[in-house]
């Protein structure tokens, strides 16, 4: 009799895995790839200016004195338009925002800033996404909190909504 009971074990296992697979299919898929560079110092980089109006950006510009935001964006990216007001709000609260424009042209950068406002202190031009890859960013827009020592402390993936502003301010406060 005891042997009979054991016969059901494979079927029970199968039912368990089928059920698990079915359940996981109904769960929302995490489609963002988080950077594993959070907690690591910024890699060395020095990017030329993205357009005539602002200087370029290097690691040294994000190190020392205070925490800053590093915003990865592009003039061809629609969600970047959506987050422009929130970046402005952060700037108005005294946050320094350094931009890196991905695969962008000077005239397009200037045009974007003219239309949607310019919250940046500097913008580096990353024409081949090399700094983006070096900090583990997988899309635009993404925003990193860099502490006073130049260590990456927090990554926000996607456009910054109104509701994300307090969280970013809190992370900046922590990173001072």
């Amino acid at each position: 009799m005891r042997d009979r009971v054991w016969l059901w074990v494979p079927l029970a296992l199968f039912a368990f895995f089928a059920g698990l697979a079915g359940y996981m299919l109904t769960q929302e898929k995490e489609q963002f790839v988080a950077s594993t560079m959070v907690g690591q110092p910024l890699p060395d980089f020095a990017l030329p200016a993205a357009f005539g109006g602002l200087p370029g950006a290097a690691k040294a510009d994000l190190t020392g004195g205070k925490a800053r935001l590093l915003n990865i964006w592009a003039s061809w990216c629609l969600p970047c338009i959506a987050e422009a007001p929130q970046l402005d709000a952060l700037k108005n609260q005294g946050v320094e925002i350094v931009g890196i424009a991905i695969r962008d042209r000077p005239e397009d950068v200037a045009n974007f800033l003219g239309r949607y406002g310019n919250p940046y202190s500097r913008i580096g031009s990353d024409k081949i996404s090399e700094v983006q890859l070096a900090i583990g960013s997988s899309g635009v827009p993404e925003t990193f909190v860099i502490d006073a020592k130049g260590v990456i402390r927090y990554q926000h993936i996607g456009d910054i909504r109104d509701s994300d502003v307090p969280k970013l301010l809190a992370e900046l406060e922590k990173a001072r």
């Binding site: 790839v33 592009a74 061809w76 969600p79 959506a82 997988s138």
Partner: protein, 143 residues
């Protein structure tokens, strides 16, 4: 009102279709390395790295601009003398195991490697016992 219209508009737009730009590709995105041996090494590596934009493709298969930029990284690093292993580790340090299509043994993936080995050991043990038992039964019959 305009905001909600815009929000609805964004909701209906598929992001990957928008994530395009008009810049020329990086130098080594679509150009092979001169040295066929190095190109073969780069190509083998690119087939085992995941595109971050189009996550079901390798960077060798994807036409996303970011995949092109990743191919440029792979080819220029191979050309600079880095090994495939070094480049893979460089990417894994930034994106986690996720970026590698070739499973790596790590703190989270070791059961993938340990469980099959364990199952084979158990099955081997069971088989040995059963066959051993049958043999001794046969021996018993013969006597």
């Amino acid at each position: 009102m305009i905001r909600s219209v815009l929000a609805a508009l964004f909701a209906f737009l598929a992001l990957p279709a928008l994530a395009q730009d008009t810049m020329p590709p990086a130098p080594y995105a679509y150009n092979q390395l001169q040295d066929p041996r190095l190109e073969a090494e780069a190509s083998a590596l690119m087939h085992t790295l995941r595109c971050l934009k189009c996550q079901s493709q390798s960077i060798a298969d994807s036409d996303a601009p970011m995949a092109g930029d990743m191919r440029h990284q792979v080819r220029s690093r191979i050309l600079a003398g880095e090994s495939s292993g070094q480049i893979r580790s460089w990417l894994i340090a930034r994106y986690g195991d996720y970026v590698s299509y070739e499973p790596e043994v790590s703190a989270t993936t070791w059961p993938l490697f340990a469980v099959p080995a364990l199952v084979i050991l158990i099955v081997g043990g069971v088989l040995l016992r059963r066959l051993g038992k049958r043999r001794s039964d046969d021996a018993g019959d013969a006597v």
